[in-house]
């Protein structure tokens, strides 16, 4: 049994089997996992916002979906992975307060999701599965031995993607 490594807001971690990467209570935040099945190596990021604000220098690049994916890829490559073997999954991006953003399309959760898909597509990393959107919070556990992502929520129960 490996360690359960906790990934907080605006943070990311890279680890290997048998470790498990966990992030608790994702609302409109997006959880992004990248995995190299060959090496049982992967990473999990917990990002608040889609992209960096204009002209801003971020002290925590993983705060943004875009920065988080790029940083994680960098770290995975440094750990011996190869871009060709990486796959991705996404979870989160909900809209927690029902009428905060009347057009759900405009909501921050939805923007996080579309940014995640876009950056993955640009980097040609296949997106294998996702459990995104809705109005409920999620806790995610990423098992680096199997590459499976367990998504737990109060309303929907537990699913594995």
């Amino acid at each position: 049994m490996g360690d359960k490594l906790r990934v907080g807001i605006s943070d990311f971690q890279v680890a290997r089997a048998p470790d498990i990467l966990v992030s608790y209570g994702l609302g409109s935040c997006l959880g992004i996992v990248l995995y190299d099945a060959r090496l049982q190596l992967g990473g999990l990021a917990h990002s608040l916002l889609p992209g960096a604000r204009l002209g801003g220098v971020e002290s925590r690049p993983a705060k943004h979906v875009e920065g988080a994916i790029r940083l994680m890829v960098e770290k995975l490559l440094a750990a011996g992975s190869d871009l060709r073997y990486l796959t991705a999954k996404l979870a989160g991006g909900a809209n927690m307060f029902e009428s905060l953003n009347p057009g759900a399309e405009e909501g921050i959760g939805a923007r996080n999701i579309s940014m995640g898909r876009k950056v993955l597509a640009q980097m040609e990393i296949p997106l294998l599965a996702e459990d995104v959107g809705g109005q409920h919070g999620r806790t995610i556990e990423f098992d680096l031995a199997t590459g499976l992502l367990r998504v737990r929520s109060l309303r929907v129960g537990e699913i594995t993607i």
């Binding site: 608790y24 209570g25 994702l26 609302g27 935040c29 916002l49 307060f97 009428s99 109060l154």
Partner: protein, 208 residues
Amino acid sequence: MTLVPLNDVQLDALKEISNIGMGHAATALSQLIGQTVHLKVPRITIADIADMPELVGGAEEVVVGITLQIFGDARGTILLIFPRESATQLLVRLVGKKPEDLIFDELSASALKELGNILASAYLSALGGLLHMTLIPSIPLLAYDMAGAVVDNVLIELSQEGDLALMVETEFHGQSPDDEVIRGHFMILPDPRTLDVLLEAGKGSYGG
């Protein structure tokens, strides 16, 4: 970091202003539920945004969150967090029934939002009166889920400015020994740019 570190005088002023404002909110709550509500002296913390879910009991704790925007001469966000059991107790007093599982019917949701509205309005009118500012609450929004998920929506706006949030927070609790205690967190998160405005106005009221 966009938040200017506050000196002791400024912190005291902010604490005093909030104490009065939250006192009004607690009185409003007492009247609403017909039970004395006690307040702790507000704490003023400059917290890392990443630590916020822990401050309200842990990211996976099931809570009711009610949030309102502050408009007018100052901007910011008010966030009320009630643990699940306390929200249930509140509903028993407000509408006379418990919610089933994780679903609120329209009446219960509306009662909790109204509660948020009353507390926020009491706080803002006291604060505004003290500072000679017009402060208006937006309509309240409600979420019932894991604390981490409830809080992160609110943090997003702040996180665009920096990684720290100034938080004025208090806990309140009811008193009757035979009842389950009602607890809650009342948090004010001024926009970083608004903080200066608040402190400046506070100076006038307290002579420095």
